[in-house]
Homo-oligomer: 224 residues x 8
């Protein structure tokens, strides 16, 4: 079966691009620079879409870029990227509750943009000052999908879920202290949310939220 | 020391009324009718303020009332009550997120009223429909203190905490299912809240919230 | 503001239909028959779309139907329903891992159908017999969205997430015993899933999954 | 709406001072020096009350002070402060169980003082030596509100709650080891407390306790 | 090896009496009346000391007593007992925080008495009214060992641990609700106690506490 | 693909017998009598080995047996069984710590016997009386595999793991109270065991342990 | 009241020596060298018994010793000590399961010795090799009290509890990984132990165990 | 009894080789180089089989090797090894879900090989790309036992458990973030697995899995 490229230390699922519309995304932690170079090279060669490495620190990214041309690095999002997709007409808004949620929001924005979603962000719209969220209500409502990034009690997901009609993907964030339990409280709270139809991804995973919206965006594509 | 009345099965802290402005409140569960009758009789005789029995079911309440005159029973709040205090000018608003939070809100209302607070309730103002909470914003802001009763993700506490200047006491509720973890999620979420100065009491304890406000209300008394 | 109908015991968010494409859905537990009748009557009168009451047992459902005409009851899904939407062309497949996941799957199917999604179910496709899941791979791939219902270790979500391109909403189920921790293990496992872009809703909430897909389905509507 | 100042990386809720009696308080962790300088400058310019930055280390504080004049730094409390309020006549006593609770108590004292509360502290009054707490009983009883700071089993909150009539706000502390579970045990124990009307804030949050008392203190102000 | 009597469904550790000063104690739950009769008969025959069955309900106890003469049943403690030991001069005081802790305290008292300890109880000495505990300080200090029985936050263990010189064995109780987590909070809090040298046994196990003191009491015996 | 028999409500994995040496085992809970009859009938018809239904209560078992001939029911193990395998020469000893572990041990014995393992049990060999376990050391050592069934602290698994050379499969049991946390403590403790190479299955799952040994026993078969 | 010495940063409970037979023990973490010097000096001056500082690292210990004469430091136990008690005739054996439990055992030994107990240790007697524990059975049985120090599954406490008649104090240790949950598993397992009358102290607290035995040892003293 | 070699700091269980077919394996963490040298020397002298030290870092390993000849070090597995067994005919396949599971898989491979198992590994066969696992189905089915190493949701264990007839030992891995809870989610999910007869060892313990298979492999030996 030649849909899998066996590199010894990894098996590339080359068929994923055909199957899911995007090549495998590489999760950086725990991989050596050599392994990442090998995987990225394989994907660039055998697939045609965007190639992404997530959660990679600056020095490792630099080392990889020294071996593989034409890539770019987004330091805040910790994302390495080759062949970004052309931006389409599917509008995603990433709403982040506080300034400490920025890095996770940045990953969501960077990954969503890389796969061709038309992505913008609004920051610091936590529910303790409702005017801030009401002020951007229009922007939220005009989006095709909303990603909510919030730590602490995660209340923003419920509030946004009640304001918009579009799909809402909530990302719990591990900021906060004490009762925040490193994001577990926000994750549970988002699931217990009173707003119907809000879905949740893993703690701190801006990447997963972007990929969830990527799946959703293909709906429209299919409808064209 | 005659500040303690030893009934054998219980020691009544008779000095509590002088020390804290209110006789001991009797927690019903686990006590027999005879024990409750004995305790209530002792408190009515040796203290002068309101006497309350919390979390007592209708049949037990009826049995107690058959032995001790002049008491009243609030079935929704499951509260037995003698000598309610005269309503003062300290205004408390109890805001409940959903209809399933009613029993806990009812306990908060009943206990707060019994100890002389001027108490009203607004129901079903969960954050999934912000208009509902914004609609009652005026009532919330005019209160001297607000008790927020909310299960699920407990987001209402954060939102109300951001809307009002007054003390906010949040009561997590054990309704909900799955990720609600019988109120533990709401308790943790309320603590992780982004609204500064919101305090929290035990799960389902409308009683504790009312008592917390009773402590606060004495501040104004002292200021008179 | 006349977007909210205050019934005293509840505030109906009448504007939700305009805002989110569907009237408020009524969560049955903790509400009396009279309260449900009042809420349903209000929604039927002031809104035009489907009216649903979830998690209502047969006897309560019968009592409600005695007061409100033209409703139907789905006993397996425990769903009361008035004015179901006409089935559109958005195809949802609900995939359930085992026979004990049926009730949750039934709720997902019933709610999704009620709001106009073209819904079918495949049962008993747990990953311990991969042939079963591979056998229905075609059906899964042809769906516009997939809802995965699975208790125990929740592995079906990862496997389906890897097979299809469409949005996948996973519902952890509280069946199982011991290490299943009443669904918490499945919820956590689904979040930790290695399949990118799978989203998760609360334990046992077929309703939430259906509503999440309802949000997604409006994407296509907007694209028409 | 000009009640919100959009700095790009943050939205200042300028109306909070009018709404809640105090400008937004800045939570330091996760913010760069430049961001803090920007936020503080905005608040100093558009609001008139005290401006606080919490949980900021000495070197970052120094860097901020180099850009914004007239501020002060409290190293034990890790608090940056501009325009402290004039001390009023609302007396707060901060009671700390042990010497390892000092840093949290220090934050409570510093924030409470900064917002104009007349604040004093008693240290090392844990319940294992009851004489110590009985010795300061008079000081506790003369306070308008008491903040109890305690790690380990948090028993001090129950004991103080039983001694005084005033509002008691308990702060669980993450000191201790093993069964202390980084403050979670104290948080849960304080909620389970047998002393009626004691409220609780997040683990280690001297800040939240001070803000809760600030809300309470406005009661008296309103009564004047 | 004839130190073990094999009844088929159970193996009696007959040597335990010689080894530990007391025959095996029978844990009632999950055993049939016939099994209990068989075990008790075996112990009465082959050992000479007290024979106890713990946590046995009234009807099962009656059925056992119909087959085995000369036993007694303590309904509050749920204890079946044959051949109680003569009361010695080792004084144990069982201190219970509230009236809902009575059943656990009763088990501690009954088991301790049965094995020959000179046992008395003081009830309702929770720390919210310190006068109550101070009032019995003398009795606590004159005991050779103290068993503290407390649910909720378990603070009584810390306070008593600080008052007396004798061994203190703490029993967390599963009463309370919400944050009490069915006794887990009290168990953790007692371990985190600031009072040195307090030991803890399993939740609700008055039996274990009594047995721990039985071990301790043999110290004095050895010293005679 | 005719390896799967689609009954509508269930998909029978008919190939499992060829693939794994045993037909699918039916998990009883949550299935109707009709469903069980359908599944059992299908398995009896299309497969040739033992057919088992686990965790089925007596009345349901009787109802199933009324429709499907030649089955037997083991009430203690709650196991329905058709076509038990002939007993081979692979010797399994099931060692249970206490009498309350019997039902789980019974399931392990019944399932292991049904699939052809030569199974015996030793009961009540908990580690608090080491003589009991040492007494059966010979029997344990002569077994080809040992299943250890233990609740409470699960120490028996470590001790047996150190005594024998054979595979040891540990089953944590949900008996006990308080700190036993319904078997979770035993599960964790067995994993943390100091005895190398002990493996663990789900809480209360005598079935899983028997199936694990069934896998192991096929090793010898292959070696013949 | 001059039983308390107020140092400003700490209140020394000078009466503790009279009340409990030992001066306050100083818990090192979180205290500065100056604070420790102040406390130790105060205790040496106003009390007459042993003065101990626990959990203090070598450099801090050296700094303290530079200011306070005649002290000694036990590096393995991390204990600073002045005026150790004369060794009496109360024999304590500290049994440690593995070599990684040594530091906790060392603290138990050092503290027990410092307060006058006749203390010895046996190491590496974990239950996976029963011969090791049986080999020292005699030593264990001749002790007046046994401290069991064990991480992982904590099974040694159950086994020792079954072997000896004397008081057994178990110390869970935070060594191990994964399912050991930093000692929480051992703590829970020790509580769930099948050996009657074993008591437990906080994770890693050799100190607490020694103090518990110190309380017990006074029993014999009282009997002289 | 000379089956135990008492080194003072450790007691070597010399009889283990006779009893269990392998000398004690040394767990490296928490032991000094001198202690390891002493233990290894003792085992090499008194036993004849393989001597292993697990989880030892490179520098410590080098220091040990300087004192004890003829050993080897496997850096990825962090394993020190003397006298490896001759490879027999028992085939073990170690299947790892992702590249971040490699170190744990490496330990399983190295230990299994050291004790004479014929061990190979397949990497990166996570279930999100089923083709990868189906591709190696043949290799998995031809193994005498399979070790599955997987973090995240651990779904690979269920899938492999359903594919093969041989014993499957699952190792949960602590990689992943957020909801992975450092391997606890994978551990629980593997226990809740729908695949019958899969057993589980402690988080990250490639060593335990190898030892479990070593026990199993002796079955075949006994059958020869």
């Amino acid at each position: 079966m030649n849909d899998v490229l066996n590199l010894g230390f990894a098996r590339l699922d080359l068929a994923r691009e055909a199957r899911q519309g995007l090549p495998e995304v590489v999760y950086g932690p725990g991989k050596t620079v050599d392994q990442i170079v090998g995987i990225v090279t394989g994907l660039l060669e055998h697939n045609t879409g965007p190639v992404l490495v997530t959660r990679i620190e600056a020095d490792a990214a630099e080392a990889v870029l020294a071996h593989v041309d034409e890539g770019g690095y987004d330091a805040e999002a910790r994302l390495l990227l080759w062949r970004p997709a052309i931006t389409g007409d599917f509008a995603v808004t990433v709403a982040a509750a506080g300034t400490s949620d920025r890095p996770v929001a940045a990953e969501a924005v960077a990954v969503a943009s890389a796969v061709g979603l038309d992505t913008t962000a609004v920051h610091d719209v936590g529910v303790a000052g409702l005017d801030r969220i009401l002020q951007v209500r229009g922007r939220l409502r005009s989006a095709d999908a909303v990603i909510v990034v919030a730590g602490m009690e995660g209340a923003l997901a419920s509030v946004v879920g009640g304001l918009v009609r579009a799909p809402v993907v909530a990302v719990p964030v591990s900021t906060g202290y004490g009762a925040s339990l490193e994001g577990v409280t926000a994750l549970l709270a988002m699931h217990a949310s009173c707003a119907a139809g809000v879905t949740v991804v893993n703690i701190d995973s801006g990447f997963s939220a972007a990929m969830a919206v990527h799946r959703i965006a293909q709906i429209r594509g299919a409808a064209r």
